[in-house]
């Protein structure tokens, strides 16, 4: 009975932290700067579509999605790495964590707040892209399907960023998160390239197991499939959702565990 009430209370606390995180972002400049860049890219996509031969709407769709994805990821990394660190640095964290709330809820709340920010941001950009496409007679709801995958990628990257943010300085976090992002987009090719180089069967097994620990963001990438109208395999979406969910869960749990006993000096 008391347990149940506490769970509700925890959710309330997480919501409070999230709301505050959301407020923080939408009242900060960096958010709008990155947003402006994304809009610029969309404009650029339109201009470019006039200059190139071929399907105009395809170029807008292709460049638009790539631009949106890129700038969302950048927002996620550069705001994400500060989520915990900045609170410690600015000493604003003292007051929050002196409240009757387990520390892990702070991390989870910050995470969901950031995801809400990214969601709003993404939705706004997707709407602009949709309108642009409609103008060029290329309206497609697939934009939102792609958006959903971009959002899953953001979920993983933000979790990576917040994980590093709770243990390392922003610069180190940024480097590590960027590295994870790049590895994430190439890791699916590692086994094909590297495994044949190994001779011993055991080594191969270990290598493959290690590859599975790396994020595989190609699993969350449908932009190409959509722009080239490649049919999307059955189960692709489900697999991506499960993958995202597990990856985020593991990272958040790890971040919470590390953060639990950390001295906030």
């Amino acid at each position: 009975m008391t347990n149940k009430i506490d769970w509700l209370f925890f959710i309330k606390q997480i919501t409070s932290i999230s709301k505050n995180t959301y407020k923080e972002s939408i009242r900060s400049k960096i958010f709008y700067i990155l947003m402006a860049f994304a809009v610029l890219i969309l404009g650029f996509a339109v201009i470019l579509s006039f200059l190139t031969i071929g399907s105009q709407k395809r170029i807008i769709l292709d460049l638009g999605l790539a631009g949106i994805s890129f700038f969302s990821v950048m927002t996620s990394i550069f705001v994400g790495i500060g989520l915990i660190y900045v609170e410690i640095e600015k000493k604003t964290i003292y007051n929050v964590l002196s409240k009757p709330m387990p520390r892990s809820l702070f991390i989870i709340g910050r995470y969901f707040g950031m995801m809400a920010v990214l969601g709003t941001n993404l939705l706004a950009m997707l709407l602009i892209l949709t309108v642009l496409l409609a103008i060029f007679k290329g309206f497609t709801l697939m934009v939102f399907y792609a958006g959903f995958f971009i959002y899953m990628e953001l979920a993983v990257i933000t979790a990576i960023a917040i994980f590093f943010s709770s243990v390392a300085s922003p610069v180190l976090s940024a480097i590590c998160t960027l590295a994870f992002y790049l590895i994430g987009h190439t890791s699916s090719t590692f086994p094909e390239i590297l495994v044949p180089l190994l001779h011993n069967q055991f080594e191969k097994k270990v290598a493959i197991a290690l590859f599975h620990l790396l994020p595989d963001l190609s699993m969350l990438n449908v932009c190409n499939l959509i722009t080239y109208e490649i049919p999307i395999a059955q189960g692709f979406t489900i697999r991506a959702i499960i993958y995202t969910f597990s990856y985020v869960l593991v990272l958040l749990v790890a971040a919470c565990l590390i953060f639990r006993k950390r001295d906030l000096v």
Binding site: N20, Y94, S98, V265
Partner: protein, 311 residues
């Protein structure tokens, strides 16, 4: 007897030294008992370990050794913090929030119904004297206003115990007095206040009990009246008489016409002086014991602390 608001046993904490060389022993076995009523001053010079102690109490850092209980509950349980309000040292708050939003936000981390929380936010901001400023973002607040909004958020859950880290530091005399009056008012409302300070005057004026910490160790503790009453430093005896007895002339502080004041250092001396004066037919006007001020106790404790360190 009621349970202690805070009880601390043998608290030890060390930090990595500068450039990770050696270790700084910030707390070297602190014992403290804060009773569940009144105002307790946690006094000590800069760097004595006050903030470190308060951060351990509120669960922000973890001790190497020792234990802390808040109303009998180990502070490692986060629920132990549900009955405290905390004001960190020179509080840093989200400067993108308004005063009102800030107090509401911190309140929302407690089990307070929304409607009540809204009402409390308004009345607390009024209590701390920020009425009319509640819609202003904190980045436009002065140091004193931040301190006050900090007090308001510490009070939002109507806690029995308030823990304030240097609540008066960095304020001008008027600001200090306002905070002091506020603390006294809260005491009247039945709250326990545990505050740290390196400024004695503030403590002397409002504390019921003090603990003095020097170099990570409690060197003196107890009720302010007993601490101050413990050591009478000297007595001033004033009398009216034509002649000052020879034995006392050495001790004369002032003498004007037939009025004289002498100063003696012990009770025995008081007695002999009085006997001499009586036999001399002088008229005794007053015998005033001068007790140590908190400052003197403090300074002598700091001296002892230094000697202790050298040994």
């Amino acid at each position: 007897m009621k349970e202690a608001a805070i009880s601390i046993r043998n608290l030890k904490k060390s930090f990595k030294g500068h450039l990770s060389i050696g270790r700084i022993e910030a707390l070297r076995g602190v014992d403290l008992n804060v009773p569940s009523s009144g105002i307790y001053g946690f006094i000590g010079p800069n760097g004595a370990g006050k903030t470190t102690t308060l951060k351990i109490i509120t669960g922000l850092i973890f001790p190497d050794e020792g234990e802390v209980k808040i109303f009998g509950k180990p502070n490692s349980e986060f629920t132990a913090r549900s009955n405290i309000g905390f004001l960190p040292e020179s509080p840093y708050f989200y400067d993108y929030l308004t005063g009102e939003e800030l107090v509401f936000f911190f309140g929302s981390l407690f089990k307070i119904p929304k409607k009540e929380l809204k009402e409390r936010t308004v009345s607390l901001l009024e209590l701390v004297g920020l009425k009319g400023k509640e819609k202003l973002p904190l980045r436009k607040y002065s140091k004193g206003m931040l301190q006050r909004v900090g007090l308001a958020q510490a009070l939002i859950s109507d806690p029995e115990l308030l823990i304030l880290d240097e609540p008066m530091s960095g304020l001008d005399p008027i600001g200090r007095r306002e905070i002091r009056d506020l603390i006294l008012k809260l005491k009247k409302e039945g709250k326990t206040i545990f505050f740290s300070s390196h400024i004695l005057a503030d403590a002397e004026m409002i504390c019921d009990e003090v603990g003095i910490i020097v170099k990570g160790k409690i060197v003196e503790r107890g009720k302010l009246e007993t601490l101050l009453g413990k050591e009478v430093r000297f007595w001033d005896i004033s009398f009216r008489g034509a002649q000052v007895p020879l034995e006392l002339s050495q001790k004369t502080v002032v003498s004007h016409e037939d009025l004289t004041m002498i100063r003696v250092d012990s009770e025995e001396e008081v007695e002999t002086a009085l006997l001499l004066l009586q036999s001399n037919k002088s008229k005794i006007l007053s015998v005033i014991p001068h007790k140590a001020s908190l400052e003197e106790i403090f300074l002598s404790s700091v001296e002892e602390g230094k000697n202790d360190k050298q040994n």
